[in-house]
């Protein structure tokens, strides 16, 4: 589904979505194809579900989004990350 289709099918609510096809372009992340993992009535429920899923499978590209949002304007930034001394 495109974001437009997600918005039409799940209006005025929170959704946890997974990006099935996405690309990085000019400092933005463009989501081409999405799958709705689960819709939610409240933000906290959606956030908690996202955190659980992310912990279980950090490789999945998951988003918590509200379908009142028209455009997905997702900026990207790079972070080298941390290296611990063990």
């Amino acid at each position: 589904m495109t974001w437009m289709e997600v918005r039409r099918r799940y209006p005025h609510q929170w959704v946890v979505v997974e990006a099935l096809d996405a690309r990085s372009e000019l400092g933005k992340r463009r989501l081409e194809e999405l799958a709705v993992v689960e819709p939610f009535l409240d933000a906290e429920g959606a956030l908690r579900a996202y955190l659980k899923l992310h912990r279980r499978a950090p490789g999945r590209e998951l988003y918590v989004l509200h379908t009142d949002r028209e455009d997905l304007d997702i900026a990207e930034r790079t972070w080298l990350g941390l290296r611990t001394a063990g």
Partner: protein
Amino acid sequence: MIKLEHGLAYVAVVLTFRGRSLSLGSVILDTGSAGTMFAADRLLDIGIVPEPFDPLRRIRGVGGTEVVFTKRIDRLAAGALAVADFEIEVGALDYGFPADGILGLDFLVRSGAVIDLRSLELRLRNPTSENH
């Protein structure tokens, strides 16, 4: 006060959002991070949840990627350092060891921080008497 653990520097911060304050004791001081990030599950305590139009950001790192939402908070303080009306990133923050957040260079620059790794202090400026 800076505490060294796992070879990393940790500080304590107090953040204030819409009049409610939260103390976080294990925030990693990281001049290699452009932004300041906090763990979403900790911030739920003061009612920080995503809102429909929060700006989103995807952080790409060596350890993987994660998506964060951003919030403008009233105030962020670490010891004597404080900034008002500051943007934070909120995400899962799973890096395999305990941390409530990452205090990035944006906060350190805006607050005029001096990181003193001899006395393990985060402070506003060098004392004038420091000659050794």
